[in-house]
């Protein structure tokens, strides 16, 4: 089945020569055109969007009736009088948010139809946000659709997970490694948990969906820590990820505790900015831009120059990606996840030969934790050194002791409602030390147990007090691996507070990088998004 597009081309590594055009770097709520040095630079381009499934609803039905692994079809698992919990990914997925109908809506509606047919009436829907901020009504409506929201939210059967509800959480046991497995009581006491994933990157899904998404600090601290991050190479590669190993151990404890999980995982293509429309050029290769693309880009650049930051933020936040479903699989967690990962890799993996001295990345306006919010400096770090750096399989793109250059405005600005503990982390913790291990030892507990943060997490729309720590740990592997981190075009004080080196231009940064990696270094640009994952040999 096809939507009628030309066959998508795989990812690609461009060796920059004198004829190569300037490359578009994402730069927060804007872009920069950068000319990379010829004959020693390369640009890794993501694959073009795979074909979307022509009949997503049909594919969902098919997956629910034809489960993978040791699982009965969903209808066979549903019976009157049972307790059913449907948990779903929160606002952090996908990025940017996708156009309606959201995949979660399609799946949840289908699951609910089948539950209704089976006579199941004790159904709860939980946004499995772990210690992320609660989703607003609008955000929930967008994810599950108005019909589901109106049917369940008013009666209190659709809600955000609350990891700090003393009555709502339970410890199911410990893994052989002594890790506490903390879980939602409602999910634990259900006869069936259906988990609805959007697997945007290979890190997502598997046992992590429930073991993390329906857990809290008591459980998360066992894998969201510096040791785990130092031993996840990378956390995008499950087979080599201590983060996933811990979640898999926890998944076994959950299963052994009698919690039955029916996992539904989905993948989307790279159609982030649209094949047509005002952002379409962002998923094309620069030398293939049409006159219309060039005009649209220049127009956008001029327009952005005139807008204040808040207006730019609003404009970018309003973008909804026209993602298309490329696969859906359901059934037993591990069997499902194996197929899902292959489908993610089919879209994202780009073979790359050899490491580089200098890795450059243009960071966009969005990351998992600033949807409808502000990309504060800690999130800039996390997106660059956490997510982008770890988008590799095999070896990091940059050699040990190399340099990472990230481009982003990095404003010293925070969303007070969403990120209150981030402000304190930035002002108080990073002023003391930027060493992840020291931060973890000296500061984590007091933030995690701060009563006010807990209050804001539970009653407002704040990330949990410990969340900025996890963001900092997310960059721990990169910080340990590289010799220097630079941020181009960022707020100088904010960049320095994080222990990084500010640079006004990419050329300045490249010049300064030679202090670390020597003259004439090799340079690799990770052109992301749309998303790619480097398969480095």
């Amino acid at each position: 089945m096809s939507n009628g597009h030309l066959a998508p081309r795989p990812g690609f590594v461009l060796d920059v020569d004198r004829t190569s055009p300037p490359i578009v770097f994402h730069h927060g709520e804007g872009f920069r055109l950068e000319k990379l040095p010829a004959d020693r630079s390369r640009v890794i381009y993501p694959a073009e969007p795979l074909e979307g499934l022509a009949d997503p609803d049909g594919a969902i039905q098919h997956a629910l009736h034809n489960p993978l692994g040791d699982s009965e079809p969903l209808p066979a698992l549903l019976r009157p009088g049972m307790k059913l919990t449907i948990a779903f990914d929160d606002i952090s997925l996908p990025l940017p948010p996708m156009r309606r109908p959201d995949i979660r809506q399609r799946i949840i509606e289908t699951v609910l139809d089948q539950a209704a047919e089976a006579g199941v009436d004790d159904v709860h829907l939980i946004a499995a946000l772990a210690i992320h901020r609660r989703m607003t009504e609008d955000e929930l409506r967008h994810a599950v659709g108005d019909r589901v929201y109106d049917a369940f939210a008013p009666s209190g059967r659709l809600y955000n997970h609350d990891a700090e509800d003393p009555d709502g959480m339970v410890v199911l046991g410990q893994t052989p490694h002594g890790e506490d497995v903390q879980f939602s009581r409602r999910a634990a006491e259900s006869d069936l948990v259906v988990y609805v994933n959007i697997n945007l990157v290979s890190m997502d899904g598997g046992h992590k969906s429930t073991a993390t998404g329906l857990s809290g600090y008591t459980g998360l601290r066992h894998h969201h820590n510096v040791h785990t991050m130092h031993n996840s190479k990378s956390f995008m590669d499950r087979e080599n990820s201590a983060l996933h190993a811990s979640n898999w151990r926890m998944g076994k404890v959950i299963r052994d505790a009698g919690v039955k999980i029916f996992q539904i995982e989905t993948t989307v293509n790279n159609n982030t900015f649209g094949r047509e429309g005002p952002m379409a050029m962002l998923q094309k290769r620069e030398w293939e831009w049409s006159a219309k693309d060039r005009a649209a880009f220049l127009g956008m650049q001029q327009g952005l120059k005139l807008l204040p930051t808040s207006a730019k933020r609003k404009a970018f936040s309003s973008w909804l990606a026209p993602y298309e479903l490329t696969s859906v699989q359901a059934g037993e967690v591990e069997a499902v996840h194996e197929v899902t990962t292959a489908n993610v890799y089919r879209q994202h993996l780009v073979p790359v030969e050899g490491q580089t001295d200098v890795l450059t990345m243009g960071l966009p306006y969005i990351c998992p934790y600033n949807v409808n919010s502000i990309m504060n400096p800690i999130l800039v770090m996390c997106l660059g050194l956490g997510y982008f750096f770890n988008l590799y399989r095999g070896r990091p793109l940059v050699r040990e002791g190399g340099v990472v250059i990230m481009g982003h405005p990095t404003p010293w600005e925070f969303h007070p409602v969403h990120h209150p503990s981030y402000i304190d982390f930035f002002e108080q913790v990073l002023a003391d030390t930027t060493d992840p291990a020291e931060i973890e030892k000296k500061w984590e507990k007091q933030f995690a147990e701060d009563e006010w943060y807990i209050h804001l997490y539970r009653t407002s729309y704040a990330y949990h007090g410990v969340h900025p720590f996890y963001m900092w740990y997310w960059g721990a592997h990169a910080m340990q691996h590289v010799g220097r981190v630079m941020i181009v075009g960022g707020d100088t004080a904010a960049v320095r507070r994080m222990g990084f080196q500010p640079a006004s231009t990419l050329q300045d940064a490249l010049e300064m990088a030679t202090d670390v990696v020597g003259p004439q270094p090799t340079i690799t640009h990770l052109k992301n998004p749309p998303i790619l994952m480097a398969d480095v040999t």
Partner: protein
């Protein structure tokens, strides 16, 4: 003798105020301060001796005077012309090295019986600072009759002088007087055990207050504000657990005190003031902004100790009323009652603290009297220039040698 003399001259005072508002310390060049060749002040009485300064510090109150920012409150409490300088280590003519306790109380004014405060050893609270045998002046350095430390000689009552042990070098000794102010403030704060203490400002007094709070109380956490890297480093070295920028203090105290916050903007997560807060706040800045911060972060029935000289401030006092917060001033020193009930002279406590905490390192730069404009500008911009205490160094003045030898 060579001296920096401050005269009553209203046009120059206005010029100093203008220059000081443009460049801190700028009042030195255009104001009523001048380098003069004066006769050493005649001892005002039989118990008075001549002191030849070795080092003489520049204090925040001196800078306020030089830049025309002093409150008019002081006008009847000083006598013109006067020679500033009250943080002094010097030599008596018999060669004894001494530090000056500059407050001019009843004894030095030859008043008997003394006022209640002086009788209790609380010299800083003397009720007779404009009476007795001396012209008005709350301290040496603001009284015409005594002269002051920014000169090669001045007069001191023998009760004002404390011999200095050889173990204390001049740099350490010149820190005894400001340290005594800080010790007094820390003890007046009556810091409960396990308290959260906030020290606003990490200039000289702020840093010394941190050291004093650590030495004479047992707080759980000291949160300090500091603007500049050197201040940050020293605040941490002297005992602050958390050092933040002035704009970050409300969030820092909230976390340290484990309290909640009140948002006036309507944004959950904003910290405009605290629901609880610090047990004690020591304000070493004394501005409208710092006092507003102090009121925002002090817990109900907590105490604010005002150490920084405030002048005129604009302040919303509703929280003081509503939360029953105490606001007390801390001026100079005298005799202290320690937590164990014993009493001690503040200067003795300060001398010990200077030695134990190595506070002589806070003297960042010294200047001869002839370079007084540079010295005052440096002192006024100490923070941004990475300095703490700036002092006049009179040890190399030829004039001093002549006076020591007693030749005319």
């Amino acid at each position: 003798m060579k001296a920096l003399q401050f005269r009553r001259n209203l046009p120059r005072y206005a010029a100093a105020r203008l220059a000081g508002s443009l460049t801190p310390g700028g009042g030195a060049g255009v104001g009523p301060l001048r380098l003069a060749d004066l006769e050493p002040p005649a001892p005002p009485g039989p118990d008075w001796v001549r002191v030849l300064p070795r080092l003489s510090g520049i204090c925040g109150s001196d800078l306020a005077t030089i830049d025309g920012r002093s409150a008019r409150y002081f006008e009847p409490l000083v006598s013109f012309p006067f020679v500033p300088g009250h943080e002094v280590v010097g030599d008596r003519e018999d060669g004894t090295r001494v530090v000056l306790e500059p407050v001019l109380g009843c004894v030095s004014r030859n008043l008997a019986p003394t006022c209640r405060s002086c009788a209790d050893g609380r010299l800083g609270n003397c009720e007779h600072t404009t009476f007795g045998d001396l012209e008005p002046g709350i301290q040496t350095g603001s009284c015409h009759d005594t002269g002051g430390g920014w000169a090669t000689a001045f007069s001191a009552h023998s009760s004002q002088l404390h011999p200095v042990d050889d173990a204390l070098d001049d740099e350490a000794a010149v820190m005894v007087e400001p340290t005594a102010c800080a010790v007094h403030a820390a003890l007046l704060a009556d810091i409960p055990d396990d308290a959260v203490v906030t020290v606003l400002g990490s200039g000289t007094l702020g840093l010394l207050t941190i050291a004093a709070a650590r030495a004479f109380a047992a707080p759980r956490t000291i949160v300090a504000t500091a603007k500049y890297p050197t201040q940050r480093r020293l605040a941490a070295e002297l005992g602050a657990d958390l050092v933040v920028g002035p704009g970050e203090v409300r969030r820092a105290v909230r976390r340290a005190a484990g309290t909640r916050a009140v948002s006036t903007s309507g944004d959950d997560g904003a910290v405009d003031r605290l629901s609880g807060g610090a047990d004690v706040v020591v304000d070493c800045v004394g501005s409208s902004a710092s006092l507003t911060d102090a009121l925002a972060v002090t817990r109900p029935r907590g105490r604010i100790v005002l150490v920084g000289m405030p002048g005129s401030v604009s302040l919303e006092l509703t929280p003081l009323w509503h939360r029953e917060v105490e606001l007390v001033g801390a001026y100079t020193y005298g005799t202290e009652t320690l937590p164990d009930g014993t009493t001690a002279r503040t200067f003795d406590l300060a001398t010990g603290l200077v030695q134990e905490a190595g506070l002589g390192r806070l003297v960042s730069a010294t200047y001869p009297l002839s370079r007084y404009r540079e010295a005052l500008e440096h002192a006024a911009a100490a923070g941004p220039r990475g300095a703490v205490k700036v002092a006049f160094d009179l040890r190399g003045e030829k004039e001093r040698e002549r006076l020591m030898e007693g030749t005319p």
